[in-house]
Assembly symmetry: C2
Homo-oligomer: 359 residues x 2
C-alpha cells in the first residue's frame, strides 16, 4: 500500500495529462482540489486492485462540468465528499474504496478529494486506462456493469439520483443535468464489489500515471529527452516528430472537434501527419495511412519539454512528438472495439493496433 | 366524495382546456391515458380538499415531455403508476392521495392515470387553478413548499430522483432530463401533508374544470352561447369579441411565443385587441390599454362552439371571444404576483385584475 501525498499527487497529475490522450480535462484543476483535501485530511492510501476483498464495495468518483465552467471556476471539495455520502444514503451500501473512472485527465485526481475527506482509500485502477468523453465508455460496461445507481451533486446543493436501464442513458441524463446545473458537478457511479472490480477494471492505472509523471520529471532533471524516456518506460511507439502546420477546431455542444496537420522532422518517419480529435485524439494518419486509432492512446508531447499538449491547446508552430501507447487488453476485445473504436466516433476506419507501426 | 368515471373525465378534459389559458398541453392525450386506466381499474374517487386528514400524505402528479414528443407519441399509463411507487421507495412515505399540479391542460387529467392504477383517490385541488409553464410556478412555492424530493420516470425505464435547494432548480433539472430522455416522462413532486395542502392548494380546481366542461356541453345542447354560459357560470369577464387578423408565433426551445392581433366585432368593446402568449396567454391589450394579465386567466374561445383555442393553434380568420377569469387569491398576493405576474415573463407591465374591466 502506497500513501499518496502532495508529491505523489503531482506525479499522477502530470502523468494523467499524458493518459488523457489529448482530452480528459485539465488535471491541474482537479489537483488543486485534491491537494487541498490532502493538506487538510492527510495522505491517501492507494491500494492495489488485487489486495481488496471480493466483498468490498467500490465506486467510481468523477466530476462533470457544464461546458466552459471548469476553466472559470474551481470545483469545491465539499461536493466530492457529499457525493459519496449521498450514494451511501441512496443505496444503503457503505463504500470501502473509491476509484477513478478515468486515469486520464481531470478525473484521475478528483477521487483523491473524496478519499481524503471521507477517509476511504483509493484503488489503484480505473475504468479506461486513459480518457474517453462518455461515461458509458468504461471497461465495466463490457461486463454488464451498470453506471447506476449513481448520484450527481452540484455546488448549489442539488442532488440527482439515477437508476437507468442502460449506461448511455446515464450519460444522457448526467450530461443534461450538468448543463442544467450551470456548474461543476461531482458523481459517484458504477458501484461494484471487489470481485467485480478485479474482473472489470484496468489494473494499476494510477501507478502508471505516477510513473509517467515521474519519468518526465526525471528526464528533465537528467537533461535527456522526456519523450524518449516515456516511450521506453511505457513501451510506447513513436508515431511521428513534426511541426504543427494547421489546426481546424470547432466547438460543438461542448466538444472540441477537429484535426491538426503536421509536417515531418524525420525523413524516414513520413512527411505529413494528421491528428483527428474529438476531445481526445482518436485517429492518427501518417502519409495517408492510419497508424493508430482509439482505443489505443495517441498523445502529442512538446518535443523538448515532454509537456503533453491537449487537443484544445495544440496550435501552429508547436514542435511535437506524437506517441502511441497500447490500450488495456479489455479494450482490444471485439466488445471493447465496438464500444470505443473509431467507428463509435463516426470514423469510417477500423481499429489498428499501435504496435503494428513500431519501428 | 365524487366518483370520476369516463363521462366525468370527459367534462374535466374539456374544462381543463379552458383553464389551460391557451397553454398547458393538449388534455386529449392525457384523457386517453386516464380513460384507459379508469376502464381497466374503475372510477376514481375525487375527495374535497377539506375532507382529507391533516396527517395524510399527498403528492402532485404531472407529465413533462421532450418538446414535440407528446404530440407524436402517447405516454403510457405504466409510468404514471411507477412514478408514485418510486417516490414512495425514495422517501419511505406512503401516499394517500394524488393531486394535479395544474388543473389547466394535459396535467389536469394525468393524475387520474396514477390514481386508477395505484388505487389512491385524487384530491379536488391543484397548485395553479390554471396552467403555467414552469414547475416552480405553483402555490406551494409561495409557502416555502419544496418541489423535492421528487421522481421523474421515463418510458425507457429510467428513474431520476431529485433533491434541490430551490424549486427553480427542480424545473431546470427536470426540463433537461425530459429532453435527455427524448420521451414522455411522468413526475411525482411536491410531497406535502394534508394540513399543508389545505393551506397551500387551490380548492376545488377539478370541480371547476368539470363545471366548465359541463356548461359548454349543456349550452351546445340548449343552443345558447357556450361563451355566455361559461361567463355566467364562472363569473368571468368578456374582454373582447373579434376576428383574428394576424398571428406572429415562434418556437424557442419548445416554447410557443408570440402575439395574436384581432379586430373588433362590437364597436362598444374596442376596435383592436392583442393577445401576448408564451405557451399560455399572458397579457391582453385592448385599444392599447392592458385589460388583463397573468396570473389571471385569459382564454380565446371559438365564438359559436365555445371551443377553447390554444395559443399554438390560433390563426387568421378565427372568430373568437376572449374571456378573463380572476386567478385564485393565492396568486393575487405580492408573492403570487412576483412568482407569476407579467414581469416574471419579461413584460414591462404590472398586474391588472381582470374585474377592473368588467362592463
Amino acid at each position: 500500500m502506497l500513501l499518496i501525498d502532495e508529491a505523489a499527487l503531482d506525479d499522477i497529475t502530470l502523468g494523467s495529462t499524458v493518459l488523457g490522450a489529448g482530452g480528459g480535462g485539465d488535471p491541474y484543476v482537479g489537483m488543486l482540489l485534491a491537494r487541498d483535501a490532502i493538506r487538510r485530511f492527510g495522505p491517501v492510501p492507494l491500494v492495489p486492485l488485487d489486495e481488496i476483498a471480493d466483498d468490498a464495495n467500490i465506486v467510481f468518483i468523477a466530476g462533470m462540468g457544464a461546458p466552459g465552467v471548469l476553466i472559470e471556476k474551481l470545483p469545491r471539495a465539499a461536493e466530492y465528499e457529499r457525493v459519496l455520502r449521498e450514494l451511501e444514503r441512496f443505496t444503503g451500501i457503505t463504500f470501502d474504496y473509491v476509484c477513478p473512472a478515468e486515469a486520464g485527465g481531470l478525473n484521475a485526481v478528483t477521487p483523491f478529494a473524496t478519499a481524503a475527506a471521507a477517509g476511504v482509500p483509493v484503488v489503484d485502477a480505473d475504468g479506461m486506462g486513459r480518457a474517453f468523453p462518455h461515461l458509458e465508455m468504461v471497461t465495466p460496461t463490457l461486463y454488464g456493469g451498470s453506471a447506476t445507481p449513481m448520484v450527481m451533486v452540484d455546488e448549489h446543493g442539488n442532488n440527482m439520483y439515477l437508476t437507468t436501464e442502460a449506461n448511455p442513458w446515464a450519460e444522457s441524463y448526467a450530461r443534461a443535468a450538468a448543463v442544467a446545473s450551470g456548474a461543476n458537478t461531482a458523481m459517484a457511479l458504477y458501484p461494484m464489489t471487489g470481485a467485480q472490480a478485479k474482473e472489470r477494471l484496468v489494473r494499476g492505472a494510477l501507478t502508471v500515471a505516477a510513473e509517467i509523471g515521474r519519468t518526465i520529471k526525471q528526464a528533465r532533471v537528467d537533461h535527456v529527452s522526456p519523450v524518449d524516456a516515456v516511450l521506453e518506460n511505457q513501451n510506447g511507439v513513436l508515431l511521428f516528430r513534426g511541426k504543427v502546420e494547421q489546426v481546424e477546431r470547432r466547438n460543438e455542444g461542448g466538444w472540441t472537434i477537429g484535426t491538426a496537420n503536421l509536417s515531418g522532422l524525420d525523413e524516414d518517419r513520413g512527411l505529413s501527419f494528421v491528428l483527428h480529435f474529438q476531445n481526445e485524439n482518436l485517429v492518427a494518419e501518417r502519409d495517408g495511412a492510419i497508424v493508430a486509432t482509439t482505443p489505443d492512446l495517441i498523445m502529442a508531447m512538446e518535443l523538448d519539454s515532454g509537456q503533453p499538449i491537449p487537443a484544445e491547446e495544440i496550435r501552429y508552430g508547436y514542435r511535437v512528438a506524437v506517441i502511441g501507447l497500447p490500450s488495456d487488453p479489455h479494450w482490444r476485445t471485439p466488445a471493447g472495439i465496438d464500444l470505443s473504436g473509431p467507428r463509435r466516433f463516426g470514423y469510417d476506419w477500423d481499429f489498428v493496433p499501435v504496435e503494428g507501426f513500431r519501428r
